[in-house]
């Protein structure tokens, strides 16, 4: 399968803490690490694991952080197409992971969006996480186009039909009013599963110990898009997606426990 993702990436410093610090307090991290993450990276890595390879069209500043991100993403098996918007700096983020595995994110700087048109002719699957309107219109050339609910203004402005629209039912920024031309709309609700075109589906049991929730939703969406693009029935696709979302919970950061194809 020829697959690509259009989306943003940020360089994330992760810190595991006993609890989210209350106002005025200090917490000591028990583990710290860094990785390029954000929706574009997490979705692309999950699709790369399932499809063998995945291209990511993204944007970075021309800085050391951006170069480190490209190197690491390539190491993760993602083929990266990088634009450098003028006078921009690579976006960074801090993410605290508390004892329950919940992540709390602070972003620093503007989201750098890949700009279109993009050379997306001939792809079996494109997953649009973020980007400008011409980038999304290019993405529609793919046989199967999935999009994240978090970029609804862009989706609305582009006005292209979507094969899959996926997002979280619990994130206020992803609340959906039904106004887009989408063949399938899937919203997730954590351990409760979610809705697919209004029909409930079940979540997979989480791992015994939830280590880290970062990337679970994006991995769910990526696996769902992959499965539907290869022709799986909806029920099978949702089952794979639920397993992908659950798998991520068992690992440190978004990449250590993502679901491989042969699992």
């Amino acid at each position: 399968m020829r697959a690509a993702v259009v989306g943003h990436v940020e360089w994330v410093d992760f810190a595991r803490v006993p609890r989210w610090p209350a106002a005025g307090s200090i917490v000591h991290a028990t583990d710290v690490w860094s990785d390029p993450a954000g929706g574009g990276a997490v979705v692309a890595r999950q699709i790369a694991l399932l499809a063998g390879r995945c291209e990511l069209f993204t944007a970075f500043g021309e800085d050391e952080t951006g170069r480190a991100a490209v190197r690491r993403l390539a190491q993760l098996g993602i083929d990266v197409h990088v634009q450098h918007p003028p006078r921009s700096a690579t976006r960074r983020a801090w993410t605290h992971i508390d004892d329950g595995g919940e992540r709390t994110i602070t972003v620093l700087g503007d989201k750098l969006l890949p700009a279109g048109p993009l050379p997306l002719e001939g792809y079996d699957l494109v997953f649009f996480v973020s980007g400008d309107v011409p980038a999304l219109r290019s993405a529609r050339r793919a046989r199967f186009l999935a999009a994240a609910l978090r970029e609804q203004p862009t989706l609305r402005e582009a006005g292209v039909p979507l094969d899959l629209l996926v997002g979280s039912a619990n994130d206020p920024t992803e609340r959906y009013d039904g106004s887009l031309d989408a063949r399938l709309v899937v919203t997730t609700d954590g351990a409760n599963g979610g809705l697919a075109n209004g029909e409930p589906f079940r979540a997979t049991d989480p791992p015994v110990q939830v280590v880290d929730t970062y990337g679970a939703g994006d991995s769910f969406g990526a696996a769902l898009a992959f499965a539907l693009a290869r022709g799986d029935e909806l029920s099978d696709a949702l089952e794979l997606a639920a397993r992908a979302g659950s798998a991520v919970l068992g690992g440190r950061g978004p990449y250590t426990a993502q679901l491989p194809l042969n699992s």
């Binding site: 390879r53 083929d79 197409h81 990088v82």
Partner: protein, 244 residues
């Protein structure tokens, strides 16, 4: 990468197969023939870098876009490298498609099983005295000739114009390595191209024909020499080059 923008190193390991990492990859067309900046001058506006430690290749296009990924080796193919067969493996990844879009023709990226130097082991390294650039510039009536046009491995300061030609057949120490030059490097139209614009803007071949046309040489229109490596070693910018 063969034919793409030159990379200037402060230090290199020179071995029997040439400078380590030099021309590790090249592009071929649909028939397997080597594609170079003779076919597409804009190739030399594209930069390549390869990180051996993690097997990651990055191409930077003239408009600043980068294409990076981990190299995956595919099937073995026989390519035509300067009309000689050369075994290589197809490189799977985003680069072939991206460059095909740039030039408007289908290209495939390959990694040869042996060194990608042009003249085999006797041409593992190329050397040029920088004074020779001055001689050509005088002939052409220009202030300076950019040495990058000639895409040599090593530039040598302190020689007279074309003094390096007299080294053919002798042992030359260059840094920790020792080479024996085997012949002259004959020139082609690529040297007319400005390395910053890829536009042909200097009649280098006319100039060479004018003042070097009668020189006894192993290849026509000679400029610089090629050499085999008899002792591998590290070479750094500023190292002494002398008869060994």
């Amino acid at each position: 990468m063969k034919a793409l923008a030159l990379e200037h190193l402060q230090e290199a390991l020179l071995g029997e197969g040439g400078v380590q990492g030099d021309r590790r990859f090249y592009f071929v067309g649909e028939t397997g023939r080597l594609i170079s900046n003779k076919d597409f001058p804009a190739f030399q506006l594209i930069r390549a870098s390869y990180d051996d430690a993690v097997d990651v290749l990055t191409l930077t296009l003239a408009d600043g876009r980068e294409i990076a990924g981990r190299v995956e080796r595919g099937e073995e193919v026989t390519t035509s490298f300067h009309r000689r067969p050369r075994h290589a493996r197809l490189v799977i990844g985003p680069w072939s498609r991206a460059l095909s879009e740039v030039v408007g023709e289908p290209l495939r990226l390959v990694e040869p099983s042996t060194s990608g130097v042009d003249r085999g082991r006797n041409g593992a390294a190329t050397l040029l005295g920088t004074a020779s650039l001055g001689a050509l510039g005088s002939t052409l009536g220009v202030e300076a000739v950019d040495g990058r046009r000639f895409r040599m491995n090593f530039g040598i300061e302190g020689l007279g114009a074309h003094e390096e030609d007299a080294w053919i057949g002798r042992r030359i120490a260059i840094g920790d390595a020792v080479v024996i030059p085997h012949g002259n490097v004959g020139r082609c139209v690529v040297t007319k191209q400005n390395p910053d614009t890829a536009v042909s803007d200097l009649d280098t071949l006319g100039g060479l024909a004018e003042y070097r046309g009668d020189v006894e040489t192993t290849e026509p229109l000679p400029f610089g020499i090629h050499a085999g490596v008899v002792r591998s070693g590290r070479v750094r910018v500023g190292d002494v080059v002398a008869l060994a």
